[in-house]
Amino acid sequence: MNPPNERYSDLIGDQDDPALLECIADLDATCATFALPPERDADLARSLAAQAGNPNRRSAGIRLPRLAWLHAPWQAARWHLASLTLAVLVAVGGIGAYLHGQSPTPVNAQTVLHRAAAVSPGPNEATHAIYRLTASGGYTGTADVWVGTDASGSPAEFALTVSMSKDGDQAPQLSSRRIQTQQTMQVYDPASNTVTISSPGASDQQLEGVFVGTLVAQKLSRALDTNKQQNPFKLQQATLDGVSVYALQLEGSGNQTFYFNTQSYVLEGADWVQNGKSWQARLGPNGYQVMALSTVPAHTFTLNAPATARVVTVTPPEGTSKGSAEDGLMKGIVAACDTTAQVFNAALQKGDKSILAICQQTNPGMTADSLVTALMAPFKSDLDAKVASGAMTPAEEADNLSRLRMKLTYMVTGQPGTKPGSK
């Protein structure tokens, strides 16, 4: 495949506008993440074959059952496993554990979410839940979830272990263990035998955005508030494994359904589809257990990864701003340019030189290619590991690196202060 600047030469022309080039690169990269989900692909191929075998069949009358899946447009198509969504689900369920005594009177979606969002765990307590998991393709397993609270009652520690298998064999590609505290997030990926440690900043963000059940419910509630005209949630009272539940379905988002116990608001289960794979989580027979934090077994909130695991420390962006990603690359720039973050930032803020030009002030021999290569090194290393583990093909790695190189090239050669879309 040609690089983007060749593919879009008709749009770029002779322009030397890094912002435009970056805009093109990003749009190209984004569009490249869209792929027809495998299940839909297979269904459609079968449908076409059926129609081909029966030419008199009118296409207008053909409609396969909708196979919902979670892949909203403009999202990345790649996801290692369901743990993130799962974490959301179990976190929402976790807050329900504190809602004993609520009336089972009919409620609307907002009421369910408000009740969940309004409740906080007790101080210095922990909850434990085990969900039975099934995923299409014959995968089964469990999700073991611990949530510990601090002295103020805020969730402060999380441990999530997803163990999947198929036909008695472990499925490491669908398994993981995640430990999150207010200081750090650690994820062990058994498929690549890699531990990824995120920076405190990222952990805080993840902590608030993903694992704090109260905040999850609040965010869902806010989503409902912003869609008052078209309620995105469909609420029904139903029975799940013999338990009366409120089924809260997020319409149009991949058929995600949360099943809340109508008495306790415990999350009894959830359904969702992801990357073409249908998932189900059902609360195990032991339900939720609430206990004093002091009684939690030792090592519950430690990763316990194999000693042979490769450790990757990632310094992710602090936010979603353009500048934050540059912050994430600062270490690489400082090392490659033989400078300090303070000196570099001071030069950058003057606004009259590109990153490369600033770099050349302290490292005169530096070229754009060399700088980009240096900045790509940690990324390449990580991708190499993925290829070695079989989690990524060499072609995929090359594609990734090609896009990354293009993007970084624009970044280091563009004029300072330019943001995507700026002249």
Partner: protein
């Protein structure tokens, strides 16, 4: 993650010439439609994702487009219009029909809580590309008018050339190129605004 194999480009082992041969073969035997489907499935889907903002609808409509195309293939004439242009006209019309027929706006990615959206946790490239760029791109694309978005999706998601885009929208190549450049400029400006 998409690869060349997953999203076939105009390169691959097949050329436009052999595409015409594929079309002719499929016209003679509908069972031979499979290679054409494989060539365009992800591109059609990607285009519809950009048009509809609802992936479920995009997948459904992708199905509808290919079934319609297969049904209409006997009437298609290779010399009048490239197959890709013909196919994306079907897709474009189908998207427009859906908009007219069904004004339901399900929860879209813009309104989805952040934690319900997939993210590439270990993907360092995603750290760079997604976190910063996609967030801004989402905003920028969302703010585009439908026609502008359509143009960009035809070029970037459907991966049509400017000439092909022109053929789909009923403009000549020069006009299509000019529109595309304007659309890109608009996106760039929106992109810029979203970062401020």
């Amino acid at each position: 993650m998409q690869t060349d194999a997953a999203i076939p480009w105009d390169g691959d082992a097949e050329t436009m010439d052999d595409e015409a041969a594929l079309v002719r073969a499929a016209q003679q035997d509908p069972a031979a439609f499979a290679p054409l489907y494989r060539r365009y499935r992800h591109r059609v889907y990607a285009y519809l994702c950009g048009r509809l903002t609802n992936a479920e609808d995009a997948a459904d409509l992708t199905q509808q487009v290919f079934l319609q195309a297969l049904a209409a293939l006997p009437r298609y004439r290779t010399r009048s219009t490239p197959f890709g242009v013909w196919l994306f006209r079907i897709a474009r019309n189908a998207a427009a029909d859906l908009h007219r027929r069904n004004r339901r706006v399900a929860i879209t990615w813009e309104a989805m809580p952040e934690e319900l959206q997939p993210r590439a946790e270990h993907d360092v490239e995603g750290q760079v590309l997604q976190r910063e760029a996609l967030a801004h791109l989402h905003v920028a694309m969302r703010n585009l008018d439908p026609d502008t978005r359509d143009l960009l999706m035809l070029r970037f998601a459907a991966r049509l050339t400017a000439a092909e885009v022109g053929a789909v929208i009923g403009k000549n190549t020069a006009a299509a190129s000019k529109r595309l450049q304007r659309a890109l400029q608009t996106l760039k400006e929106q992109y810029h605004e979203s970062t401020e």
